[in-house]
Symmetry: C2
Subunit: 329 residues, 2 copies
Protein backbone atom coordinates (compact mmCIF):
# COMPACT_ATOMS: atom_id res chain seq x y z
CA UNK A 1 0.00 0.00 0.00
CA UNK A 2 1.28 3.45 -0.86
CA UNK A 3 1.86 6.18 1.69
CA UNK A 4 -1.03 8.39 2.72
CA UNK A 5 -0.40 12.03 3.54
CA UNK A 6 -2.87 14.74 4.49
CA UNK A 7 -1.12 18.04 3.90
CA UNK A 8 -3.41 20.17 6.08
CA UNK A 9 -5.48 19.58 9.20
CA UNK A 10 -6.38 21.79 12.13
CA UNK A 11 -8.41 19.59 14.46
CA UNK A 12 -9.22 19.86 18.14
CA UNK A 13 -6.55 17.23 18.78
CA UNK A 14 -7.36 14.20 20.91
CA UNK A 15 -6.44 10.56 21.33
CA UNK A 16 -9.61 9.72 19.40
CA UNK A 17 -8.38 11.67 16.36
CA UNK A 18 -4.87 10.17 16.51
CA UNK A 19 -6.43 6.68 16.60
CA UNK A 20 -8.61 7.60 13.60
CA UNK A 21 -5.47 8.70 11.71
CA UNK A 22 -4.02 5.23 12.13
CA UNK A 23 -7.37 3.57 11.33
CA UNK A 24 -7.36 5.54 8.12
CA UNK A 25 -3.74 4.47 7.44
CA UNK A 26 -2.68 8.12 7.38
CA UNK A 27 1.11 8.11 7.67
CA UNK A 28 1.65 11.84 7.87
CA UNK A 29 -0.38 14.95 8.62
CA UNK A 30 0.74 18.54 8.18
CA UNK A 31 -0.89 20.28 11.13
CA UNK A 32 -1.36 24.02 11.54
CA UNK A 33 0.21 25.23 14.78
CA UNK A 34 -0.17 28.96 14.14
CA UNK A 35 -2.82 31.18 12.62
CA UNK A 36 -2.45 34.58 14.24
CA UNK A 37 -0.09 33.34 16.96
CA UNK A 38 3.08 35.34 17.39
CA UNK A 39 6.44 33.64 17.92
CA UNK A 40 6.06 33.07 21.67
CA UNK A 41 2.52 31.79 21.24
CA UNK A 42 3.63 29.47 18.42
CA UNK A 43 6.34 28.07 20.71
CA UNK A 44 3.63 27.27 23.25
CA UNK A 45 1.90 25.23 20.53
CA UNK A 46 5.16 23.32 20.04
CA UNK A 47 5.18 22.67 23.79
CA UNK A 48 1.58 21.41 23.61
CA UNK A 49 2.55 19.06 20.77
CA UNK A 50 5.57 17.81 22.73
CA UNK A 51 3.16 16.82 25.52
CA UNK A 52 0.97 14.99 22.99
CA UNK A 53 3.98 13.17 21.54
CA UNK A 54 4.82 12.06 25.11
CA UNK A 55 1.26 11.05 25.89
CA UNK A 56 0.60 9.03 22.71
CA UNK A 57 3.99 7.66 21.60
CA UNK A 58 2.33 4.60 20.06
CA UNK A 59 0.19 6.81 17.79
CA UNK A 60 2.15 9.95 16.80
CA UNK A 61 5.61 11.51 16.62
CA UNK A 62 7.06 14.70 15.16
CA UNK A 63 7.94 14.47 11.48
CA UNK A 64 10.85 16.45 10.06
CA UNK A 65 11.80 14.67 6.81
CA UNK A 66 10.28 12.49 4.14
CA UNK A 67 11.93 9.48 5.78
CA UNK A 68 9.77 10.11 8.85
CA UNK A 69 6.75 9.32 6.69
CA UNK A 70 8.30 5.97 5.78
CA UNK A 71 9.15 5.36 9.43
CA UNK A 72 5.54 6.13 10.39
CA UNK A 73 4.32 3.49 7.96
CA UNK A 74 6.81 0.93 9.27
CA UNK A 75 5.94 1.66 12.88
CA UNK A 76 2.21 2.04 12.27
CA UNK A 77 2.14 5.55 13.66
CA UNK A 78 1.47 8.99 12.16
CA UNK A 79 4.18 11.59 11.61
CA UNK A 80 3.01 15.10 12.53
CA UNK A 81 4.58 17.95 10.53
CA UNK A 82 4.22 21.54 11.75
CA UNK A 83 3.15 24.50 9.63
CA UNK A 84 1.87 28.07 9.95
CA UNK A 85 -1.04 29.63 8.10
CA UNK A 86 0.28 33.17 8.57
CA UNK A 87 3.85 34.48 8.81
CA UNK A 88 3.07 36.05 12.19
CA UNK A 89 5.50 33.73 14.03
CA UNK A 90 8.38 35.44 12.21
CA UNK A 91 6.72 38.88 12.27
CA UNK A 92 9.32 41.40 11.07
CA UNK A 93 12.37 39.24 11.81
CA UNK A 94 13.89 37.28 8.92
CA UNK A 95 16.23 35.61 11.41
CA UNK A 96 13.28 33.69 12.83
CA UNK A 97 12.82 31.75 9.57
CA UNK A 98 15.71 29.44 10.41
CA UNK A 99 14.66 29.22 14.07
CA UNK A 100 11.14 28.19 13.03
CA UNK A 101 12.56 25.50 10.74
CA UNK A 102 14.70 24.21 13.61
CA UNK A 103 11.53 23.99 15.73
CA UNK A 104 10.00 21.83 13.01
CA UNK A 105 8.06 24.19 10.77
CA UNK A 106 7.97 22.81 7.22
CA UNK A 107 5.28 25.00 5.60
CA UNK A 108 4.55 28.69 6.11
CA UNK A 109 1.85 30.65 4.31
CA UNK A 110 3.13 34.04 3.21
CA UNK A 111 -0.34 35.39 3.97
CA UNK A 112 -3.62 34.37 5.46
CA UNK A 113 -6.64 36.33 4.14
CA UNK A 114 -5.13 39.80 4.62
CA UNK A 115 -2.06 41.73 3.53
CA UNK A 116 1.01 40.52 5.43
CA UNK A 117 4.50 41.95 5.59
CA UNK A 118 5.36 39.55 2.75
CA UNK A 119 2.49 39.36 0.27
CA UNK A 120 -1.24 39.86 -0.22
CA UNK A 121 -4.12 37.70 0.99
CA UNK A 122 -7.13 36.83 -1.13
CA UNK A 123 -9.54 39.12 0.75
CA UNK A 124 -7.72 42.40 0.10
CA UNK A 125 -9.15 44.69 -2.58
CA UNK A 126 -5.85 44.86 -4.47
CA UNK A 127 -2.81 42.65 -4.83
CA UNK A 128 0.50 44.44 -5.46
CA UNK A 129 2.46 41.17 -5.25
CA UNK A 130 5.49 40.31 -3.15
CA UNK A 131 6.82 43.02 -0.86
CA UNK A 132 10.47 43.90 -0.41
CA UNK A 133 10.56 41.80 2.76
CA UNK A 134 8.61 39.02 1.03
CA UNK A 135 11.35 38.54 -1.53
CA UNK A 136 14.01 38.40 1.17
CA UNK A 137 12.01 35.94 3.28
CA UNK A 138 11.36 33.58 0.35
CA UNK A 139 15.11 33.41 -0.30
CA UNK A 140 15.69 32.57 3.36
CA UNK A 141 12.90 29.95 3.38
CA UNK A 142 14.50 28.40 0.28
CA UNK A 143 17.85 28.31 2.03
CA UNK A 144 16.70 26.48 5.14
CA UNK A 145 13.94 24.27 3.68
CA UNK A 146 10.77 25.95 4.92
CA UNK A 147 8.22 25.55 2.12
CA UNK A 148 6.25 28.55 0.85
CA UNK A 149 2.49 27.91 1.02
CA UNK A 150 0.15 30.27 -0.87
CA UNK A 151 -3.20 28.63 -0.05
CA UNK A 152 -4.84 31.83 1.17
CA UNK A 153 -2.90 34.31 -0.97
CA UNK A 154 -4.12 36.47 -3.82
CA UNK A 155 -3.37 35.54 -7.43
CA UNK A 156 -0.63 37.96 -8.39
CA UNK A 157 1.25 37.40 -5.14
CA UNK A 158 0.99 33.65 -5.76
CA UNK A 159 2.34 33.89 -9.30
CA UNK A 160 5.19 36.10 -8.11
CA UNK A 161 6.02 33.66 -5.31
CA UNK A 162 6.17 30.81 -7.83
CA UNK A 163 8.44 32.92 -10.03
CA UNK A 164 10.66 34.31 -7.28
CA UNK A 165 11.17 31.12 -5.26
CA UNK A 166 14.25 29.12 -6.25
CA UNK A 167 12.54 25.95 -4.94
CA UNK A 168 9.05 24.64 -5.66
CA UNK A 169 6.25 26.10 -3.57
CA UNK A 170 2.96 24.63 -2.39
CA UNK A 171 -0.72 25.34 -2.18
CA UNK A 172 -1.45 22.88 0.59
CA UNK A 173 -5.23 23.23 0.68
CA UNK A 174 -7.37 24.64 -2.13
CA UNK A 175 -9.30 23.52 -5.23
CA UNK A 176 -9.56 24.79 -8.81
CA UNK A 177 -11.68 27.92 -9.16
CA UNK A 178 -12.98 26.66 -12.49
CA UNK A 179 -14.74 23.85 -10.60
CA UNK A 180 -16.00 26.05 -7.75
CA UNK A 181 -15.28 29.79 -7.87
CA UNK A 182 -14.68 30.30 -4.15
CA UNK A 183 -12.38 33.21 -3.45
CA UNK A 184 -9.74 30.86 -2.05
CA UNK A 185 -9.81 28.43 -4.98
CA UNK A 186 -7.16 28.81 -7.68
CA UNK A 187 -7.22 29.75 -11.37
CA UNK A 188 -5.85 27.45 -14.04
CA UNK A 189 -3.13 30.05 -14.58
CA UNK A 190 -1.93 29.57 -11.02
CA UNK A 191 -2.30 25.78 -11.12
CA UNK A 192 -0.30 25.49 -14.35
CA UNK A 193 2.46 27.82 -13.15
CA UNK A 194 2.61 25.93 -9.86
CA UNK A 195 2.93 22.57 -11.63
CA UNK A 196 5.48 23.80 -14.18
CA UNK A 197 7.73 24.96 -11.34
CA UNK A 198 7.54 21.59 -9.60
CA UNK A 199 5.04 22.78 -6.99
CA UNK A 200 2.16 20.84 -5.47
CA UNK A 201 -1.55 21.38 -4.87
CA UNK A 202 -3.35 19.71 -1.96
CA UNK A 203 -7.04 19.24 -2.72
CA UNK A 204 -9.30 20.58 0.01
CA UNK A 205 -12.31 18.87 1.60
CA UNK A 206 -13.42 22.02 3.41
CA UNK A 207 -17.05 22.53 2.34
CA UNK A 208 -16.60 26.20 1.36
CA UNK A 209 -14.08 24.98 -1.24
CA UNK A 210 -16.41 22.28 -2.65
CA UNK A 211 -18.94 22.64 -5.44
CA UNK A 212 -22.26 22.25 -3.64
CA UNK A 213 -20.59 22.70 -0.26
CA UNK A 214 -21.57 20.05 2.27
CA UNK A 215 -23.71 18.37 -0.40
CA UNK A 216 -20.81 17.85 -2.81
CA UNK A 217 -20.69 14.18 -3.79
CA UNK A 218 -17.70 11.89 -3.67
CA UNK A 219 -17.83 11.39 -7.42
CA UNK A 220 -17.99 15.16 -8.06
CA UNK A 221 -14.92 15.64 -5.88
CA UNK A 222 -13.01 12.79 -7.49
CA UNK A 223 -13.89 13.88 -11.03
CA UNK A 224 -12.55 17.31 -10.11
CA UNK A 225 -9.35 15.64 -8.87
CA UNK A 226 -8.99 13.78 -12.17
CA UNK A 227 -9.50 17.01 -14.17
CA UNK A 228 -6.96 18.79 -11.97
CA UNK A 229 -4.50 15.98 -12.66
CA UNK A 230 -5.01 16.62 -16.38
CA UNK A 231 -4.27 20.33 -15.94
CA UNK A 232 -1.29 19.97 -13.59
CA UNK A 233 -0.03 16.44 -14.15
CA UNK A 234 -1.14 13.67 -11.79
CA UNK A 235 2.21 13.85 -10.00
CA UNK A 236 1.57 17.44 -8.86
CA UNK A 237 -1.69 16.79 -7.01
CA UNK A 238 -2.17 15.60 -3.44
CA UNK A 239 -4.60 15.95 -0.58
CA UNK A 240 -4.81 18.75 2.00
CA UNK A 241 -8.21 18.26 3.56
CA UNK A 242 -8.33 21.38 5.77
CA UNK A 243 -10.17 19.10 8.21
CA UNK A 244 -11.12 21.06 11.34
CA UNK A 245 -12.57 18.15 13.27
CA UNK A 246 -14.28 18.72 16.65
CA UNK A 247 -13.47 22.45 16.65
CA UNK A 248 -15.95 24.85 18.26
CA UNK A 249 -17.14 27.76 16.11
CA UNK A 250 -15.06 30.12 18.24
CA UNK A 251 -12.06 28.71 16.37
CA UNK A 252 -13.27 29.71 12.92
CA UNK A 253 -13.86 33.21 14.30
CA UNK A 254 -10.24 33.23 15.55
CA UNK A 255 -9.03 32.11 12.12
CA UNK A 256 -10.88 34.91 10.39
CA UNK A 257 -10.60 37.81 12.82
CA UNK A 258 -7.50 37.03 14.87
CA UNK A 259 -6.68 40.30 16.57
CA UNK A 260 -6.63 42.51 13.48
CA UNK A 261 -10.18 43.88 13.70
CA UNK A 262 -12.68 44.95 16.31
CA UNK A 263 -15.46 44.18 13.84
CA UNK A 264 -16.45 40.66 12.93
CA UNK A 265 -15.29 39.37 9.55
CA UNK A 266 -17.12 36.33 8.24
CA UNK A 267 -14.53 35.27 5.66
CA UNK A 268 -15.97 32.41 3.65
CA UNK A 269 -19.00 32.30 5.96
CA UNK A 270 -21.74 34.88 6.44
CA UNK A 271 -23.78 36.48 9.20
CA UNK A 272 -26.43 33.79 8.76
CA UNK A 273 -23.87 30.95 8.64
CA UNK A 274 -20.89 32.11 10.70
CA UNK A 275 -19.70 28.72 11.98
CA UNK A 276 -17.84 25.74 10.56
CA UNK A 277 -19.86 24.15 7.76
CA UNK A 278 -20.69 20.44 8.21
CA UNK A 279 -18.42 18.01 6.35
CA UNK A 280 -19.85 15.91 3.50
CA UNK A 281 -21.01 12.56 4.88
CA UNK A 282 -18.36 10.70 2.86
CA UNK A 283 -15.49 12.61 4.50
CA UNK A 284 -15.98 13.23 8.20
CA UNK A 285 -12.63 12.18 9.65
CA UNK A 286 -9.33 10.42 8.97
CA UNK A 287 -11.03 7.01 8.66
CA UNK A 288 -12.54 8.14 5.35
CA UNK A 289 -9.34 8.31 3.29
CA UNK A 290 -10.07 4.85 1.89
CA UNK A 291 -13.34 6.20 0.53
CA UNK A 292 -11.49 8.94 -1.34
CA UNK A 293 -8.96 6.45 -2.69
CA UNK A 294 -11.76 4.22 -3.99
CA UNK A 295 -13.49 7.26 -5.49
CA UNK A 296 -10.32 8.32 -7.31
CA UNK A 297 -9.89 4.84 -8.78
CA UNK A 298 -13.46 4.94 -10.05
CA UNK A 299 -12.62 7.99 -12.18
CA UNK A 300 -10.26 5.94 -14.33
CA UNK A 301 -7.04 7.32 -12.85
CA UNK A 302 -4.36 4.62 -12.83
CA UNK A 303 -3.32 2.88 -9.62
CA UNK A 304 -0.01 4.77 -9.71
CA UNK A 305 -1.74 8.09 -10.22
CA UNK A 306 -4.08 7.43 -7.31
CA UNK A 307 -1.17 6.36 -5.10
CA UNK A 308 0.55 9.61 -6.03
CA UNK A 309 -2.45 11.75 -5.13
CA UNK A 310 -3.04 9.88 -1.86
CA UNK A 311 0.49 10.51 -0.62
CA UNK A 312 3.40 9.49 -2.83
CA UNK A 313 3.50 12.90 -4.54
CA UNK A 314 3.68 14.78 -1.25
CA UNK A 315 6.30 12.29 -0.02
CA UNK A 316 8.52 13.03 -3.01
CA UNK A 317 7.98 16.75 -2.39
CA UNK A 318 8.84 16.37 1.32
CA UNK A 319 12.03 14.49 0.39
CA UNK A 320 13.14 17.28 -1.93
CA UNK A 321 12.11 20.39 -0.02
CA UNK A 322 12.35 20.01 3.77
CA UNK A 323 16.15 20.15 4.03
CA UNK A 324 18.72 22.88 3.41
CA UNK A 325 19.14 24.01 -0.16
CA UNK A 326 21.98 22.32 -1.98
CA UNK A 327 24.51 24.83 -3.22
CA UNK A 328 24.35 25.54 -6.94
CA UNK A 329 28.02 24.54 -7.18
CA UNK B 1 7.49 84.25 23.31
CA UNK B 2 5.44 81.59 21.57
CA UNK B 3 5.84 77.87 22.24
CA UNK B 4 8.47 75.93 20.36
CA UNK B 5 7.80 72.33 19.38
CA UNK B 6 9.97 69.93 17.41
CA UNK B 7 7.70 67.16 16.17
CA UNK B 8 10.44 64.61 15.45
CA UNK B 9 13.83 63.80 16.89
CA UNK B 10 15.74 60.58 17.36
CA UNK B 11 18.95 61.54 19.09
CA UNK B 12 21.45 59.56 21.13
CA UNK B 13 19.88 61.04 24.26
CA UNK B 14 22.09 62.62 26.90
CA UNK B 15 22.05 65.36 29.51
CA UNK B 16 23.91 67.53 27.01
CA UNK B 17 21.06 67.26 24.52
CA UNK B 18 18.37 67.91 27.15
CA UNK B 19 20.26 71.06 28.22
CA UNK B 20 20.49 72.16 24.58
CA UNK B 21 16.70 71.72 24.26
CA UNK B 22 16.20 74.22 27.06
CA UNK B 23 18.90 76.53 25.70
CA UNK B 24 16.98 76.53 22.41
CA UNK B 25 13.73 77.22 24.31
CA UNK B 26 12.24 74.01 22.92
CA UNK B 27 9.16 73.29 25.02
CA UNK B 28 8.24 69.95 23.51
CA UNK B 29 9.88 67.24 21.42
CA UNK B 30 8.17 64.25 19.83
CA UNK B 31 10.78 61.51 20.17
CA UNK B 32 10.82 58.22 18.30
CA UNK B 33 10.92 55.31 20.73
CA UNK B 34 10.37 52.53 18.17
CA UNK B 35 11.55 51.84 14.65
CA UNK B 36 11.52 48.07 14.21
CA UNK B 37 11.05 47.37 17.91
CA UNK B 38 8.24 44.98 18.78
CA UNK B 39 5.90 45.63 21.70
CA UNK B 40 8.18 44.25 24.41
CA UNK B 41 11.19 46.09 23.01
CA UNK B 42 9.18 49.32 22.79
CA UNK B 43 8.22 48.93 26.46
CA UNK B 44 11.93 48.71 27.30
CA UNK B 45 12.35 52.08 25.59
CA UNK B 46 9.61 53.46 27.84
CA UNK B 47 11.56 52.09 30.81
CA UNK B 48 14.73 53.77 29.53
CA UNK B 49 12.84 57.08 29.23
CA UNK B 50 11.42 56.68 32.75
CA UNK B 51 15.02 56.46 34.01
CA UNK B 52 15.91 59.63 32.08
CA UNK B 53 12.88 61.46 33.52
CA UNK B 54 14.11 60.42 37.00
CA UNK B 55 17.70 61.42 36.29
CA UNK B 56 16.96 64.86 34.77
CA UNK B 57 13.72 66.08 36.41
CA UNK B 58 14.82 69.70 36.07
CA UNK B 59 15.18 69.32 32.29
CA UNK B 60 12.55 66.89 30.96
CA UNK B 61 9.28 65.14 31.76
CA UNK B 62 6.85 62.96 29.82
CA UNK B 63 4.28 64.90 27.81
CA UNK B 64 0.79 63.52 27.26
CA UNK B 65 -1.37 66.55 26.39
CA UNK B 66 -1.07 69.99 24.87
CA UNK B 67 -1.22 71.43 28.38
CA UNK B 68 2.05 69.66 29.13
CA UNK B 69 3.68 71.91 26.53
CA UNK B 70 2.40 74.97 28.39
CA UNK B 71 3.58 73.48 31.67
CA UNK B 72 7.03 72.89 30.16
CA UNK B 73 7.26 76.57 29.21
CA UNK B 74 6.15 77.67 32.68
CA UNK B 75 8.60 75.32 34.39
CA UNK B 76 11.43 75.90 31.91
CA UNK B 77 11.67 72.22 31.05
CA UNK B 78 10.97 70.18 27.89
CA UNK B 79 7.98 67.86 27.50
CA UNK B 80 8.92 64.60 25.76
CA UNK B 81 6.15 62.96 23.68
CA UNK B 82 6.53 59.37 22.49
CA UNK B 83 5.94 58.10 18.97
CA UNK B 84 6.66 55.13 16.72
CA UNK B 85 8.00 55.20 13.16
CA UNK B 86 6.56 51.76 12.35
CA UNK B 87 3.45 50.00 13.62
CA UNK B 88 5.56 47.05 14.78
CA UNK B 89 4.77 47.70 18.46
CA UNK B 90 1.13 46.75 17.76
CA UNK B 91 2.08 44.06 15.20
CA UNK B 92 -1.13 42.17 14.36
CA UNK B 93 -3.03 43.15 17.51
CA UNK B 94 -5.48 46.05 17.26
CA UNK B 95 -5.99 45.83 21.02
CA UNK B 96 -2.47 47.17 21.53
CA UNK B 97 -3.42 50.55 20.02
CA UNK B 98 -5.12 51.63 23.24
CA UNK B 99 -2.36 50.09 25.38
CA UNK B 100 0.27 52.03 23.43
CA UNK B 101 -1.68 55.27 23.92
CA UNK B 102 -1.88 54.56 27.66
CA UNK B 103 1.91 54.14 27.66
CA UNK B 104 2.20 57.59 26.12
CA UNK B 105 2.37 57.04 22.37
CA UNK B 106 0.89 60.04 20.56
CA UNK B 107 2.04 59.44 16.96
CA UNK B 108 2.37 56.17 15.05
CA UNK B 109 3.48 55.84 11.45
CA UNK B 110 1.33 53.36 9.58
CA UNK B 111 4.47 52.35 7.69
CA UNK B 112 8.16 52.94 7.62
CA UNK B 113 9.78 52.42 4.17
CA UNK B 114 8.21 49.01 3.48
CA UNK B 115 4.77 47.48 3.26
CA UNK B 116 3.27 47.06 6.73
CA UNK B 117 0.16 45.24 7.85
CA UNK B 118 -1.62 48.60 7.55
CA UNK B 119 -0.38 50.47 4.47
CA UNK B 120 2.48 50.86 2.01
CA UNK B 121 5.86 52.50 2.53
CA UNK B 122 7.50 54.79 0.01
CA UNK B 123 10.15 52.24 -1.07
CA UNK B 124 7.78 49.52 -2.29
CA UNK B 125 7.33 49.21 -6.06
CA UNK B 126 3.53 49.50 -5.83
CA UNK B 127 1.11 51.11 -3.43
CA UNK B 128 -2.29 49.41 -3.12
CA UNK B 129 -3.38 51.76 -0.33
CA UNK B 130 -4.80 50.95 3.09
CA UNK B 131 -5.20 47.29 3.97
CA UNK B 132 -8.22 45.76 5.65
CA UNK B 133 -6.39 45.90 8.97
CA UNK B 134 -5.17 49.42 8.22
CA UNK B 135 -8.73 50.75 8.06
CA UNK B 136 -9.62 49.06 11.33
CA UNK B 137 -6.50 50.37 13.07
CA UNK B 138 -7.04 53.96 11.92
CA UNK B 139 -10.54 53.86 13.42
CA UNK B 140 -9.09 52.60 16.70
CA UNK B 141 -6.31 55.23 16.66
CA UNK B 142 -8.97 57.88 16.10
CA UNK B 143 -10.97 56.56 19.03
CA UNK B 144 -8.15 56.67 21.57
CA UNK B 145 -6.20 59.71 20.32
CA UNK B 146 -3.12 58.14 18.73
CA UNK B 147 -2.28 60.31 15.72
CA UNK B 148 -1.68 58.73 12.31
CA UNK B 149 1.70 59.76 10.89
CA UNK B 150 2.41 59.09 7.18
CA UNK B 151 5.91 60.58 6.94
CA UNK B 152 7.45 57.49 5.33
CA UNK B 153 4.35 56.20 3.52
CA UNK B 154 3.65 56.01 -0.19
CA UNK B 155 1.35 58.55 -1.84
CA UNK B 156 -1.82 56.57 -2.41
CA UNK B 157 -1.73 55.09 1.09
CA UNK B 158 -1.26 58.61 2.46
CA UNK B 159 -4.20 60.03 0.53
CA UNK B 160 -6.38 57.12 1.65
CA UNK B 161 -5.34 57.61 5.27
CA UNK B 162 -6.29 61.29 5.06
CA UNK B 163 -9.64 60.29 3.56
CA UNK B 164 -10.37 57.37 5.87
CA UNK B 165 -9.33 58.93 9.17
CA UNK B 166 -12.13 60.68 11.06
CA UNK B 167 -9.55 62.94 12.75
CA UNK B 168 -6.73 64.94 11.17
CA UNK B 169 -3.53 63.08 10.48
CA UNK B 170 0.09 64.20 10.43
CA UNK B 171 3.22 64.05 8.38
CA UNK B 172 5.60 64.83 11.20
CA UNK B 173 8.84 65.07 9.20
CA UNK B 174 9.04 65.65 5.44
CA UNK B 175 9.31 68.48 2.92
CA UNK B 176 7.55 69.29 -0.36
CA UNK B 177 8.72 67.14 -3.27
CA UNK B 178 8.35 70.14 -5.60
CA UNK B 179 11.22 71.80 -3.71
CA UNK B 180 13.38 68.67 -3.47
CA UNK B 181 12.16 65.47 -5.15
CA UNK B 182 13.42 63.02 -2.51
CA UNK B 183 11.37 59.85 -2.37
CA UNK B 184 10.15 60.71 1.12
CA UNK B 185 9.13 64.28 0.30
CA UNK B 186 5.46 64.94 -0.46
CA UNK B 187 3.54 66.04 -3.54
CA UNK B 188 1.38 69.16 -3.54
CA UNK B 189 -1.60 66.82 -3.89
CA UNK B 190 -0.77 65.22 -0.57
CA UNK B 191 0.05 68.52 1.12
CA UNK B 192 -3.21 70.11 0.02
CA UNK B 193 -5.33 67.11 1.02
CA UNK B 194 -3.53 67.01 4.36
CA UNK B 195 -4.19 70.70 5.01
CA UNK B 196 -7.81 70.57 3.88
CA UNK B 197 -8.49 67.80 6.38
CA UNK B 198 -6.95 69.78 9.25
CA UNK B 199 -3.70 67.83 9.21
CA UNK B 200 -0.20 69.11 9.84
CA UNK B 201 3.19 68.92 8.12
CA UNK B 202 6.43 69.08 10.12
CA UNK B 203 9.27 70.47 7.99
CA UNK B 204 12.37 68.29 8.07
CA UNK B 205 15.97 69.35 8.55
CA UNK B 206 17.35 65.93 7.64
CA UNK B 207 19.85 66.61 4.83
CA UNK B 208 18.42 63.95 2.49
CA UNK B 209 15.15 65.93 2.55
CA UNK B 210 16.84 69.28 1.80
CA UNK B 211 17.56 70.81 -1.59
CA UNK B 212 21.34 70.71 -1.79
CA UNK B 213 21.54 68.35 1.17
CA UNK B 214 24.03 69.44 3.81
CA UNK B 215 24.77 72.55 1.74
CA UNK B 216 21.18 73.79 1.78
CA UNK B 217 21.12 77.38 3.04
CA UNK B 218 18.97 78.79 5.81
CA UNK B 219 17.29 81.15 3.40
CA UNK B 220 16.55 78.32 0.92
CA UNK B 221 14.95 76.33 3.72
CA UNK B 222 12.94 79.27 5.01
CA UNK B 223 11.77 80.31 1.54
CA UNK B 224 10.57 76.72 1.09
CA UNK B 225 8.72 77.02 4.40
CA UNK B 226 7.03 80.22 3.23
CA UNK B 227 6.00 78.62 -0.10
CA UNK B 228 4.65 75.58 1.81
CA UNK B 229 2.63 77.94 4.01
CA UNK B 230 1.12 79.40 0.82
CA UNK B 231 0.15 75.91 -0.40
CA UNK B 232 -1.17 74.54 2.90
CA UNK B 233 -1.99 77.62 4.96
CA UNK B 234 0.54 78.93 7.47
CA UNK B 235 -1.46 77.35 10.29
CA UNK B 236 -0.87 73.82 8.93
CA UNK B 237 2.92 73.92 8.92
CA UNK B 238 5.28 73.16 11.78
CA UNK B 239 8.73 71.77 12.39
CA UNK B 240 9.80 68.10 12.64
CA UNK B 241 13.55 68.24 12.28
CA UNK B 242 14.29 64.48 12.16
CA UNK B 243 17.41 65.44 14.13
CA UNK B 244 19.51 62.32 14.81
CA UNK B 245 22.14 64.02 16.93
CA UNK B 246 25.18 62.05 18.15
CA UNK B 247 23.95 58.78 16.65
CA UNK B 248 26.50 56.30 15.29
CA UNK B 249 26.01 55.13 11.69
CA UNK B 250 24.94 51.71 13.00
CA UNK B 251 21.67 53.42 13.94
CA UNK B 252 20.83 54.53 10.40
CA UNK B 253 21.49 50.94 9.28
CA UNK B 254 19.03 49.71 11.94
CA UNK B 255 16.45 52.25 10.73
CA UNK B 256 16.74 51.05 7.15
CA UNK B 257 17.28 47.31 7.51
CA UNK B 258 15.78 46.44 10.87
CA UNK B 259 15.43 42.68 10.79
CA UNK B 260 13.53 42.40 7.51
CA UNK B 261 16.45 41.68 5.20
CA UNK B 262 19.72 39.79 5.22
CA UNK B 263 20.98 42.15 2.52
CA UNK B 264 21.90 45.74 3.19
CA UNK B 265 19.42 48.38 2.08
CA UNK B 266 20.78 51.91 1.80
CA UNK B 267 17.45 53.73 1.83
CA UNK B 268 18.10 57.40 1.21
CA UNK B 269 21.85 56.79 1.36
CA UNK B 270 24.05 54.80 -1.01
CA UNK B 271 26.91 52.32 -0.92
CA UNK B 272 29.35 55.22 -1.16
CA UNK B 273 27.55 57.29 1.49
CA UNK B 274 25.87 54.81 3.81
CA UNK B 275 25.97 56.81 7.04
CA UNK B 276 24.14 59.79 8.52
CA UNK B 277 24.72 62.89 6.38
CA UNK B 278 26.19 65.93 8.19
CA UNK B 279 23.68 68.58 9.29
CA UNK B 280 23.80 72.05 7.66
CA UNK B 281 25.97 74.35 9.77
CA UNK B 282 22.97 76.53 10.64
CA UNK B 283 21.07 73.65 12.22
CA UNK B 284 23.23 71.28 14.25
CA UNK B 285 21.25 70.93 17.47
CA UNK B 286 18.37 72.27 19.55
CA UNK B 287 20.16 75.56 20.22
CA UNK B 288 19.64 76.54 16.58
CA UNK B 289 15.85 76.96 16.66
CA UNK B 290 16.29 80.70 17.11
CA UNK B 291 18.21 80.77 13.83
CA UNK B 292 15.29 79.14 12.04
CA UNK B 293 12.83 81.55 13.64
CA UNK B 294 14.89 84.52 12.48
CA UNK B 295 15.16 82.98 9.01
CA UNK B 296 11.40 82.56 8.78
CA UNK B 297 10.82 86.19 9.75
CA UNK B 298 13.22 87.30 7.04
CA UNK B 299 10.99 85.69 4.40
CA UNK B 300 8.19 88.13 5.12
CA UNK B 301 5.98 85.73 7.05
CA UNK B 302 4.11 87.61 9.81
CA UNK B 303 5.08 87.25 13.45
CA UNK B 304 1.93 85.21 14.06
CA UNK B 305 2.66 82.93 11.13
CA UNK B 306 6.22 82.35 12.34
CA UNK B 307 4.98 81.66 15.87
CA UNK B 308 2.58 79.13 14.41
CA UNK B 309 5.26 77.33 12.46
CA UNK B 310 7.68 77.32 15.40
CA UNK B 311 5.19 75.60 17.69
CA UNK B 312 1.76 77.16 18.13
CA UNK B 313 0.32 75.16 15.22
CA UNK B 314 1.51 71.85 16.65
CA UNK B 315 0.27 72.91 20.09
CA UNK B 316 -3.23 73.48 18.74
CA UNK B 317 -3.01 70.09 16.98
CA UNK B 318 -1.84 68.38 20.21
CA UNK B 319 -4.75 69.96 22.10
CA UNK B 320 -7.26 68.64 19.61
CA UNK B 321 -5.90 65.19 18.83
CA UNK B 322 -4.16 63.52 21.77
CA UNK B 323 -7.29 62.67 23.78
CA UNK B 324 -10.21 60.30 23.23
CA UNK B 325 -12.52 61.12 20.36
CA UNK B 326 -15.59 63.06 21.39
CA UNK B 327 -18.77 61.18 20.52
CA UNK B 328 -20.62 62.51 17.50
CA UNK B 329 -23.72 62.93 19.69
Amino acid sequence: MSHRIDCLQYANWSEKIFRQMREGAVDAVHVTIAYHENFAEMVQQVVAWNRRFEAYPDLIFQGRTGDDVRRARREQRTAIFFGYQTPEPIAADIGLVEVCHTLGARFMQLTYNNQSLLATGCYEAEDPGLTRMGKQVIAEMNRVGLVVDMSHSAERSTLQAIEHSRRPISITHANPARWHPARRNKSDTVLKALAESGGMLGLSLYPHHLKGGTDCTLSDFCEMAARTAEVMGADKVGIGTDLCQDQPDSVVEWMRVGRWSREIDYGEGSASAPGFPPQPDWFKDNRDFGTIEAGLRATGLSADEVAGIMGENWLRFYDANFGPERSAA
